[in-house]
């Protein structure tokens, strides 16, 4: 990473990409050769995008499917040429757009490393230097000397990720590739990306997981139908995007776009988390696979009645969630989070152990328990659903998410309006 510090990593002005609709490849070739623009109709995949990204900055790109996110990333990577505007990219770009794109099925993993790394723009002597490191990271045993066509999809992804992140780029472009492979490898790959970010790599991260975008990226760009709707500090842009999403969702069926809005650190109100003080009676060795972190049990009950469809009375019921998880003792202790959704898929409130400063405990067998109580449930009448998260020690990487594991039907005796009742006091003066 030896370049002029004054230069931005990426500078784009009025950047746009148009696709000609309905032109045959022959017409397209003719247009390119004679350099004429056609009268055929255009589709604007991206238009009028102005971006300025400083070196070492982490930028999130959010938006719905078809908003132009991938087009923008491909333009930045140089795999697409812009139709309009100026684009300046300073530094070596490595893109995790499609893992394993350059693999030849008949060649061994080792041969593919040599070749794929070259495709990513790695110099020959650099590849030789990092060969062993890549092999170690992929960790696929003697398969490294077997033809790639004998690989399982997991091994394929491991090798591809190891190569793509070993090229020491100046700019790393990630398109939904954060969680690859099984649990342990997903964790390892996440650490690798964090490590690159800390070493000053400019990061462009495109994801539907708004929570991850917000925790990884300081700044965010929201694209909609090829145009920038907003850009600025992640928290602001994501809040705007969430508002917009819920407006869009009003007409739609409840819970239709839940995956769009996972967790967000909305104010954690009335949350009370207790780690289970009971020690595990007979300490055993960890039984799960190395590096695995998962829920082993998850139950919600309301006034001692359990189940997945709970019934509660506003202001009176005690809502309680019991968590049980198994985490490899080699890994730092994980975090738990709970998100309450309203019927239209909006986050009503959320809480997490790291937000409330609670650290969990677990036994030698890696099993830990916690319970979360909401006394005098302040939710007002309506249908709510609960989603639980098991997250890494920094609360960024999601080990496991159990979405809508329980619904809560809340009734109330009075006519108070809204979603929940905030603590309040009346005074007569």
């Amino acid at each position: 990473m030896s370049f002029d510090q004054a230069k931005p990593a990426i500078h784009a002005q009025n950047l746009g990409k148009q696709y000609v609709l309905g032109a045959s490849p022959y017409q397209r070739l003719w247009q390119l050769l004679v350099g004429s623009s056609s009268n055929l109709s255009h589709f604007n995949a991206l238009s009028g995008v102005d971006i300025n990204i400083a070196q070492g900055e982490s930028i999130g790109i959010i938006g719905q499917n078809g908003a132009g996110k991938s087009t923008l990333l491909q333009l930045l990577c140089g795999t697409l040429t812009p139709s309009t505007g100026q684009l300046e990219v300073n530094g070596q770009v490595a893109a995790l757009l499609e893992l394993g794109a350059g693999f030849n099925q008949d060649f061994t993993g080792r041969e593919n490393i040599l070749f794929s790394a070259a495709l990513y723009g790695m110099q020959a002597q650099h590849i030789e230097l990092h060969l062993q490191e890549i092999i170690d990271f992929a960790d696929i045993g003697e398969f490294i000397d077997q033809p790639v066509r004998t690989y399982s999809s997991g091994m394929y992804v491991r090798l591809a990720f190891a190569i793509a992140t070993s090229v020491q780029p100046d700019i790393l472009v990630i398109d939904e590739a954060l969680s690859v492979g099984d649990g342990a490898f997903a964790r390892k790959s996440f650490d690798r990306i964090m490590q690159l970010k800390q070493s000053g790599v400019t990061l462009l991260f495109c994801s539907h997981s708004l929570f991850q975008v917000e925790s990884l990226c300081s700044r965010c760009i929201w694209l909609h139908q090829g145009q920038v709707m907003a850009q600025g500090p992640s928290a602001e842009v994501i809040a705007k995007y969430n508002d917009w999403l819920s407006q869009q969702a009003v007409a739609k069926a409840p819970f239709s776009r839940i995956e769009q809005a996972t967790a967000s650190d909305a104010p954690a109100d009335a949350a009370d988390t207790e780690p289970n003080p009971e020690p595990v009676p007979s300490p055993q060795s960890f039984k799960g696979a190395a590096g695995s972190v998962r829920f082993t049990n998850l139950k919600a009950h309301c006034d001692d009645l359990g189940g997945t469809a709970l019934i509660a009375r506003s202001g009176q019921s005690l809502l309680c969630v019991d968590f049980e998880f198994m985490a490899d003792p080699q890994l730092p202790i994980p975090n738990l989070a709970l998100v309450v959704y309203s019927a239209d898929g909006k986050i009503v409130c959320s809480t997490g152990t790291w937000i409330d400063g609670i650290s969990l405990t677990r036994g030698a067998d890696g099993i830990g328990r916690a319970s979360l109580n909401f006394p005098k449930l302040p939710l007002l009448k309506g249908q709510y659903s609960l989603t639980a998260f098991l997250m890494c020690e920094r609360a960024v990487h999601v080990y496991e998410a159990v979405e809508h594991f329980a619904t809560v039907q809340v009734s109330q005796p009075h006519l108070e309006q809204g979603l929940f009742s905030i603590p309040h006091q009346w005074q007569t003066i």
Binding site: L32, Q74, L87, E98, A101, D106, A118, L119
Partner: protein
């Protein structure tokens, strides 16, 4: 299309010629290795294929069509050697051009997913073909020596022909590969043209045996000059000239520059149609 688009893929900057040469060589060795990987004879096929081909053509033209090569002995081996001198050049071109029209179109991930110097792709079939042409040349010299043709010092010049040949093959390959992205029918056309080229190249006859008008026509075939040079060097019919070699190199380089210019012009549209 208001302002002129400027986009320099970052990964393409700062790479030296040495890096590109390394990459092209990687592509080529991979291409050659794929051909023999998994076969029981392996690399021996590089020797057997031209030998078998030589046998088939000699049998057909010598014994079925009873063609006589003017000016050389009447034995089948004399005929075979003349034939082979032409065939090795033509075969290199046919192998290479026959599949180059799909070579970019078949790699959508290299066009759309990574920044890759696509102009290097044709080097795989080109170097593959040139390598096999080199093996065939060696074979030709061995058979000629065994047959009693005195080895001469100018035989060492033979490999020099491979340089302009490589650029010629690359120029046409790159053009075909570029156009092939847009024209899916090109592969069919190329197959036909190669079949025609087999007879428009002086393989089964010396070009001197044709009427002057056809000789003039044949001179427009860029392969002709290579075939003539191989025969000139091996059989010393007339001294090969340095001027001839320079000319063919110049023509090859001009064609290569032309093909590259066309490639550069339309490269931006690849991702739109693949």
């Amino acid at each position: 299309m208001s302002s002129h688009p400027t986009n320099k893929p970052a990964a393409a900057k700062g790479h030296s010629l040495r890096y590109y040469a390394w990459l092209a060589l990687q592509l080529a060795t991979r291409d050659i290795a794929v051909r023999y990987r998994g076969t029981s004879l392996g690399w021996l096929w590089a020797l057997f294929t031209p030998l078998l081909m030589l046998g088939v053509y000699t049998f057909a033209f010598k014994y079925i069509f009873k063609v006589r090569w003017p000016g050389v002995g009447d034995s089948p081996v004399d005929f075979a050697l003349q034939l082979f001198a032409g065939l090795l050049i033509f075969q290199a071109a046919a192998d290479c051009w026959g599949r180059s029209s799909r070579i970019i179109a078949e790699q959508p991930h290299l066009v759309k997913k990574v920044v890759f110097p696509l102009a290097l792709l044709p080097w795989a079939p080109v170097l593959n073909a040139v390598f096999h042409a080199g093996v065939s040349m060696l074979l030709l010299l061995v058979v000629a020596t065994v047959w009693g043709i005195a080895p001469s010092l100018q035989w060492t010049l033979l490999p020099l022909l491979l340089l302009p040949l490589a650029f010629l093959l690359w120029a046409v390959s790159l053009l075909l590969a570029t156009l092939g992205v847009f024209m899916r029918d090109l592969t069919q056309v190329v197959t036909l043209v190669i079949g025609l080229l087999q007879f428009l190249t002086p393989i089964f006859y010396p070009s001197a045996s044709l009427p002057p008008f056809f000789q003039g026509l044949l001179a427009w075939n860029p392969l002709t000059v290579f075939v003539e040079q191989v025969r000139a060097i091996v059989f010393s019919v007339q001294g090969p000239t340095f001027q001839m070699w320079l000319q063919s190199l110049a023509v090859s380089l001009v064609l290569a520059a032309l093909a590259y210019a066309i490639f550069r012009r339309v490269r931006g549209g690849f991702a739109d149609v693949i």
